[in-house]
């Protein structure tokens, strides 16, 4: 209902205001307050007519209940609770997003609801058409009526879908939260370990000094070497431990994660190599290739090497051409391509398959 009116205010009328807006972008046209002078001022719009009004004016005019829009020649009845902050600078976009949201709430099917991609695309296109019509004021009444009719007819479906979606979103939120927690935990452990390491280093330093002052001065080098070795050993063991802890955390996280299975499936599907025809090619060729001379010496002296190979004087002669050779042209490719094509579609009996 609302957007029927929106559309009827449609482009010509609105564009006047857009131009007006450009001139006094930062000034409320009602109370003439300027943003320059009162930087805290906020503009609000109402999706009935999309006229910009500053917050204090909205409070002042609409606090007592619905009132007409204060813009000259507009006069639409507006309610305070419908006012919202403008997100997009261009009001046309703002309006389209609103329409999109509204239609999207009704036409909320996803790809899973369709048997094949073609159907889904058809559906998407019909939705786009509705949005376009509403946005540009084409057959608004009819489209609007259809929309309402569709909503009434598919009420339960829409609700169900919404429920499912919100569940999914909740799962996702949970997942993200858990992930964040995991991250924090990891950071915490790492920090703790770093602190420990620092302390240990200090201690070692102290020990070293003690040793150097008290011990025999003969082989200070040896002592320092040993110390360094110890340090390295410890560092690697610490690293291992950190790794272990992280793994443990990851595992725990995955156990409790509701989306884990889904993610795993997805990962698996990435692991299987991509095949454009959804299956591996049948590698049995229908022919066995005769030996074909392929290295340069053989090719240069091809007459003596084709006894067992394919006989085609013309092509075999081409194989000797150095320019062709340099460019990567090979006899084998020529023969293979022809032979492949000879058996592609040989077994398709069109008469039967198209009947």
């Amino acid at each position: 209902m609302s957007s029927a009116k929106v559309a009827s205010t449609s482009n010509s009328l609105m564009s006047d205001y857009f131009e007006d807006d450009r001139a006094s972008k930062d000034m409320c046209p009602i109370c003439k307050t300027d943003k320059y002078l009162s930087p805290n001022m906020k503009f609000l719009i109402n999706p009935e007519c999309y006229h910009k009004i500053c917050e204090s004016c909205v409070d002042r005019i609409f606090s007592l209940g619905p009132a007409p829009c204060p813009y000259p020649n507009c006069g639409k009845i507006l309610r305070k609770n419908k006012f919202k902050k403008q997100i997009f600078d261009d009001l046309r976009i703002e309006r389209e997003i609103d329409i999109r949201k509204k239609v999207g709430n009704i036409y909320n099917k996803t790809e899973e609801d369709f048997s094949d991609l073609k159907e889904y695309n058809k559906y998407l296109e019909s939705v786009e058409n509705i949005i376009f019509n509403l946005n540009y004021g084409i057959d608004v009444e009819e489209t609007e009526a259809n929309l309402i009719k569709y909503e009434a007819e598919h009420k339960i479906e829409i609700l169900e879908k919404n429920l499912n979606e919100s569940k999914k979103n909740a799962d996702l939120a949970k997942y993200q939260e858990a992930r964040e927690r995991l991250k924090q935990e990891k950071i915490r452990i790492q920090k703790q370990m770093e602190v420990e390491d620092k302390e240990y280093d200090k201690q070692q330093q102290q020990e070293l000094l003690d040793k150097l002052t008290s011990g025999s001065s003969a082989n200070t080098d040896d002592i320092i070497k040993q110390q360094n070795n110890n340090k390295l050993l410890r560092a690697s063991s610490r690293k291992k431990k950190l790794q272990q802890l992280n793994n443990q955390l990851d595992q725990e996280f995955n156990k409790t994660n509701p989306l884990y299975k889904h993610a795993k499936d997805l990962e698996d599907s990435y692991k299987t190599p991509f095949t454009p025809f959804k299956g591996d090619r049948d590698l049995n060729k229908n022919y066995t290739l005769l030996p074909i001379p392929n290295d340069v010496d053989e090719l240069m002296n091809i007459e003596n090497h084709i006894a067992d190979s394919y006989h085609d004087p013309y092509v075999n002669q081409l194989a000797k051409n150095k320019e062709y050779l340099g460019a990567g042209w090979r006899l084998q490719n020529v023969f293979e391509r022809a032979l492949d094509e000879a058996f592609i579609g040989l077994g398709c009996i069109i008469e039967k398959e198209k009947a």
């Binding site: 591996d280 090619r281 492949d340 069109i350």
Partner: protein, 405 residues
């Protein structure tokens, strides 16, 4: 026989006993089934006929509409002439549309011209074939009563040259064709493209033919010649003859809509030399069993079943474990069914090839005078105004002398 089971198994596609076949493999034939040539441009004989008839019917409707508009316009301009000569100036007697048969003849007349044009520009065979293919496809979607074939023909050649990477600039192309403007051709380009549904890749039988020429060598000559009178040279002449056969028969006929390129190529070979080609096919598709089955024309499976039973009996007599006997029985059965499917494949292939030859040879040349008559009709179908004006003039002429007298 038992030993050979493993060999035949790996080569037979999708037999159920084969565990490897459980995962579906994409065969070469499946690849062809995904091509637009198969998906959009392959027909059965009936559906091809239906498509042509549909195009003709649609053309007739459009031509009639055009005629009626022109008739009403002219009648408005000079109502008294039309009133006075109702018997000679009425839509029923004037309107003379091209029938389905006439349209086919007309198009058959034009197709060889495409090859002539392509030859004139010294275009490769590939371009010629693609141009013919475009032309034929265009008139499956449209009628000569919508677009006159002359310019369509030129545009098809121009377009085919571009799509087959043999570019001819529009200026030099038009220069060679008298009485045709660049605009005529460029305007039609998009119309043709959309009628083709933007499918520009055409698979022709010539490369498969070359492939078979190579495979004939591999199968019939290596490791040692199979037939005493077949050598590299005889195969070469067979190949050349087959190429000519394709040029003469296949290109102008509708086989490209009805059969796949390899089938057409084999048809050419088969029609040129049946003996050699049949030997090749048997050797290729019946594999090792070819020699055994060659003589058994009827009920090949009967003999095998008997053998199988006999085997089981013997083994049973020898007191071998029953299970083992069973397993051998199923094995031999699997093999016979393999042979059977091979046999079936071979037979359907030969049947298809024969059909292809028959269709390819059906094309008849359209007689010149008949085509001229159709051409006149086509002109008037496209320009009904001229037809009516001509009739009006004729009436005026007839009326004039009587007035003088």
């Amino acid at each position: 026989m038992k030993e050979s089971t493993t060999d035949t198994k790996s080569s037979s596609e999708g037999s159920e006993e084969n565990p490897e076949a459980k995962r579906k493999r994409i065969s070469n034939d499946d690849l062809y089934r995904r091509s637009t040539q198969f998906e959009i441009w392959s027909y059965t004989a009936e559906s091809l006929e239906a498509a042509k008839k549909k195009a003709n019917a649609a053309g007739q409707i459009i031509a009639t509409k055009r005629f009626n508009e022109a008739f009403a316009e002219l009648k408005k301009a000079s109502p008294e002439v039309f009133e006075n000569n109702k018997d000679k100036l009425n839509p029923e007697s004037l309107l003379n549309l091209i029938t389905f048969e006439e349209e086919s003849k007309y198009l058959n007349y034009y197709t060889p011209n495409i090859i002539q044009i392509a030859k004139f520009f010294k275009m490769p065979t590939q371009v010629k074939l693609t141009a013919v293919s475009f032309f034929k496809k265009f008139y499956l979607e449209n009628s000569v009563m919508q677009y006159h074939p002359k310019n369509i023909m030129y545009t098809c050649v121009f377009l085919a040259a571009k799509s087959e990477n043999y570019f001819v600039s529009i200026e030099s192309f038009v220069k060679a064709l008298k009485g045709t403007d660049a605009k005529d051709i460029l305007d039609l380009e998009f119309i043709i493209l959309s009628s083709l549904k933007f499918t520009l890749l055409v698979h022709h039988p010539f490369r498969p033919l070359y492939g078979f020429f190579l495979d004939f060598q591999a199968v019939l000559l290596h490791p040692s010649p199979l037939m005493y009178d077949v050598s590299v040279n005889t195969l070469g002449t067979l190949y050349d003859k087959a190429k000519n056969w394709l040029n003469e028969n296949a290109v102008l006929s509708d086989v490209a809509f009805l059969f796949t390129p390899p089938q057409i190529a084999l048809a050419a070979m088969y029609d040129v030399d049946k003996r050699v080609t049949d030997r090749y096919l048997k050797r290729k598709f019946l594999r090792d069993h070819a020699d055994k089955l060659d003589d058994i024309k009827e009920e090949p499976e009967n003999g095998d079943v008997k053998k199988e039973e006999a085997k089981v009996k013997i083994e049973g007599d020898k007191n071998i474990d029953n299970d083992a006997a069973d397993s051998t029985a199923t094995k031999t059965h699997g093999e016979t069914s393999d042979i059977q499917t091979q046999r079936e494949q071979y037979e359907t292939l030969v049947r298809t090839i024969r059909k292809c030859i028959k269709v390819a040879k059906q094309v008849s040349k359209s007689p010149q005078d008949e085509v001229k008559e159709i051409d006149r009709k086509c002109f008037f179908a496209l320009n009904p105004r001229k037809l009516i004006e001509k009739q009006v003039k004729k009436i005026a002429k007839e009326a004039a002398p009587s007035e003088v007298v």
